[in-house]
Symmetry: C2
Subunit: 199 residues, 2 copies
């Protein structure tokens, strides 16, 4: 949320990443994006000493910066860049955790176009190095969330590259993924699932 003080200067009360959503379509009627729910969840995990996981800042390509006297540097021209990694990473019980989170309004399948080639490549790389890597998938309209190990995503990605379907069916996600029950605190308790399936 942004508001203006009498001087005309704009102030911002929310996080950078949340702000960007103001300029983009919002999903569902819940008023909370998957990112907001995960940020709240990760904050809960950090505060309760459960895991230290952060969302990475949105990558920005800066073109022009002004250095006005007596005030902070102002970025006057910049562009959003495509991320070269997944959005979330951190540590749980000493292990490296890495994941991406995506949502769809579809009810019966999850389009693979939600992922980019170099995110997939990054997931392959971290898996090779012993990371715990997965995706968190929300069916916004159904309000159902699943954790799917990245190895399965890679299989579906390969299928697509070999001429197969451009999405994962909901049934496949139910079969290979793990349903995450929703709560109040934490909202999306994915570490419970991580603990169950990786430790």
């Amino acid at each position: 949320m942004t508001f203006k003080y009498p001087g005309g200067k704009t102030y911002k009360t929310k996080q950078e990443s949340e702000l960007v959503h103001h300029f983009q379509p919002n999903y569902g009627n819940r008023g909370m994006t998957l990112e907001e729910d995960l940020n709240a969840t990760n904050e809960y995990y950090r505060e309760h000493g459960i895991a230290i996981i952060h969302k990475k800042p949105t990558p920005i390509q800066i073109v022009r910066v002004d250095y006005p006297k007596r005030s902070a540097a102002v970025i006057k021209e910049a562009y959003f860049k495509q991320a070269s990694t997944t959005d979330y990473n951190g540590v749980y019980r000493g292990k490296y955790i890495d994941f991406e989170a995506k949502e769809t309004r579809n009810k019966t399948s999850f389009p693979l176009q939600n992922f980019h080639e170099h995110q997939i490549y990054h997931m392959k790389q971290v898996l090779d190095h012993g990371a715990i890597c997965f995706v968190i998938l929300r069916f916004t309209t159904l309000n159902e969330i699943y954790l799917l190990d990245a190895n399965h995503l890679l299989t579906f990605w390969e299928r697509q590259k070999n001429g197969g379907r451009k999405s994962m069916t909901k049934q496949e996600i139910e079969q290979y993924g793990h349903y995450i029950s929703l709560g109040y605190q934490p909202r999306i308790d994915y570490i419970k699932v991580v603990e169950k399936i990786y430790f």
Copy 2:
């Protein structure tokens, strides 16, 4: 390195993103900042399957974005934010690796003001969760680089908070840290030290 504008406010000249370097003075005669050397090193590690470590994007607070027709969204007003974590993290042999890199032109000590309270807090948190966490310290003028485990940094930080000196002496860094020899590829082979002291 910081310098002051006529208004008296201090500006940092060292920024995380390479792009920002276009607007700011360069160091020494080497033409390479510590960040550039580490980015090249991490790229080498990724390409050779040694470790997957990335620098996080510079956190930016976005205030205004334009959406011109037929072209990409342009950020028209944004500000640099202070990072809430360290700059680098990733995975090596399944373990979570987390570090911050800083340089000084001093020759006999390393000022603790290079670190921020919440970076220190973040290091404490990840150590508690079993992470490998350290700082990479470059004495720019001497062109010497050391890896210092975050536990030692925390001790020096505590000493400062208790009224002690506001820096670590070079001697202390030599004693508790590990010298990293410089090379061509990779330029700063810190993983060699990590392998030796943590595995």
